[in-house]
């Protein structure tokens, strides 16, 4: 299974996709907020969003899964 993980601890600020969406490599999928800065997290490959594992406002640690792809 292909997953997108948080590259640092922070809060989920914005989720830019929903289940079923097609994403392209490099497209911003989630924006984290850490240390008062927005950190865009981009897809590492083309794919279809299977499940969003977090909600806006959630706190995540480095390595936590944000989005799963088909």
């Amino acid at each position: 299974m292909n997953k997108l993980t948080a590259n640092m601890a922070g809060t989920v600020w914005k989720i830019l996709v929903k289940a079923g969406d097609q994403v392209e490599e490099g497209q911003d999928v989630v924006i984290l907020e850490s240390m008062k800065m927005e950190i865009p997290i981009g897809a590492e490959f083309d794919g279809t969003v299977k499940e969003i594992k977090v909600n806006e406002g959630d706190f995540v640690n480095e390595g936590d899964v944000l989005v799963e792809f088909e």
């Binding site: 640092m8 809060t11 240390m35 008062k36």
Partner: protein, 447 residues
């Protein structure tokens, strides 16, 4: 003087304010979030109280809880530090209503200076030069384009409530405005609860030079010279120094006098800073007023010999200034660098656990610390973990001292910008004083 003061802040500034409280025999009440239980400012406080969860909304921005602690601990005054609630009109008002002294200007002044559009109007009326631009909020991107075309590109698109570079962007043509407008407006709404946007003429190769002022409650106002803070990344300051190597004495006095006039025109009280943009021909333009203590205030302390926090406390306690403009010293040269927990190339933050902290010591070296040897740097707050302040008899000596100190500054366990600061300190362009706001882009990026 007060017997007890509550410090409604965290990090290095809370610890720094407490240091002055101790030297004046004032008891310091600390407040902290769950994430900050082990923080230096909690250890340093005479008494400290838990505010709540780690996020600022649950802790350092919780006005009710802070006022409750102030009442319970019998504090007489509240020092807001910088950031957080320091420029929050409601907080200043609620302090007054609760019979507490807010260490800063009146709520009305905070409110007027908090809006960039309003403060531009006030300053223009007082005869202070402002960056050419509009003094009303834009309706939409189309109007921004019309204004920009009248003014001539490039222009700065800015959020009236903005700060820290958020909601602000340089745009070079109509297409860029259409692309930038909605995003910046949304960001300003999300961060500051106010999406009012306006346009200013873009000043080429500017320097960011600010004047520190002190005003007592009796109409006396002095300026404590300038700080040059041009070297920035992500529109946030990285290196600050006093005096500025760019100003001559005539411009320096003109700017100081303009700052005093600006402060007096709004009946300003306590410490404040007037920020100016200065162009290549030494024309200066009012940018904004910060109605609080600044992060970079130590460089002013180093060249004037004054303790700005002590002055703030005295003024808030009802004392008069006790000195005149001619008594304000200006000796030597001081430089401050901000140590950020971040990747030195991408500037992305780097939360984590510090495993080693080894600080340079020596004459002319001063530290302000938000962390200690085993601190966890959490993602909840600003990435600034420390400030290094150096001083010398002149700018060259201060730069030598900075290079030496940075060479021995060790932080392990997290990424920091120390290597970037070392590059700045060693750069011939820095030594030569070519310190415009494009310094980082011009000299450091791409290598």
């Amino acid at each position: 003087m007060f017997k007890k003061v509550l410090i409604a802040n965290r990090g290095e500034i809370a610890a720094r304010i407490m240091r002055t409280c101790k030297s004046l025999g004032v008891a310091a009440v600390g407040v902290y979030s769950e994430a900050d239980i082990e923080a230096p400012h909690v250890k340093m406080a005479d008494e400290a109280y838990l505010l709540g969860g780690s996020r600022v909304a649950e802790s350092y921005l919780n006005i009710d809880k802070i006022l409750e602690i102030a009442r319970f601990s019998k504090a007489e005054a509240i020092h807001p530090g910088y950031g957080l609630l320091s420029e929050n009109t409601e907080f200043a008002r609620r302090c007054e209503e609760a019979g507490l002294v807010f260490i800063g200007p009146s709520p009305e002044v905070i409110s007027r200076m908090g809006s960039k559009i309003e403060s531009r109007k006030v300053m223009e009326k007082a005869g202070i030069p402002i960056v050419p631009g509009i003094a009303y909020p834009l309706a939409d991107a189309e109007e921004a384009v019309r204004v920009a075309e009248r003014m001539g590109y490039p222009v700065m698109l800015k959020a009236s409530a903005g700060g820290g570079g958020i909601g602000m962007q340089m745009v070079g043509n109509a297409d860029e405005i259409y692309k930038a407008f909605a995003g910046n407006q949304k960001r300003a709404t999300d961060f500051f609860g106010d999406g009012a946007m306006y346009v200013e003429k873009y000043i080429e190769n500017p320097r960011h030079i600010e004047i520190q002022i002190l005003a007592d409650g009796f109409g006396d106002t002095v300026y404590l010279w300038e700080r040059e803070c041009s070297i920035q990344r992500r529109h946030q300051k990285v290196v600050e120094e006093a005096p500025s190597s760019f100003l001559d004495d005539v411009t320096r006095s003109k700017m100081g006098e303009a700052a005093v006039k600006a402060a007096q025109s709004i009946k300003y009280r306590n410490a404040g800073t007037i920020e100016f943009l200065v162009d290549e021909n030494k024309n200066f333009y009012f940018l904004e007023m910060n109605t609080r203590l600044q992060v970079e205030h130590p460089v002013t302390e180093e060249i004037t010999g004054l303790d700005l926090v002590a002055e703030q406390l005295r003024i808030a306690a009802g004392d008069s200034l006790g000195f005149a403009q001619d008594d304000v010293k200006r000796e030597g040269h001081a430089i401050e660098v901000r140590i950020y927990a971040e990747d030195p190339k991408t500037f992305f933050p780097s939360p984590g656990t510090i495993t080693k902290l080894s600080l340079p010591e020596g004459p002319g070296v001063r530290h302000e610390l938000a962390v200690h040897g085993q601190s966890v740097v959490t993602p909840f707050y600003d990435p600034m973990i420390a400030k290094l302040v150096v001083r010398g008899k002149n700018r060259d000596e201060a730069i030598d001292c900075l290079q030496e100190a940075l060479a021995h500054y060790q932080v392990e366990g997290i990424k920091t910008n120390i290597s970037m600061l070392q590059k700045i300190a060693a750069h011939p362009a820095f030594r030569a004083g070519d310190t415009t706001t494009s310094f980082v882009a011009k000299y450091l990026q791409g290598n």
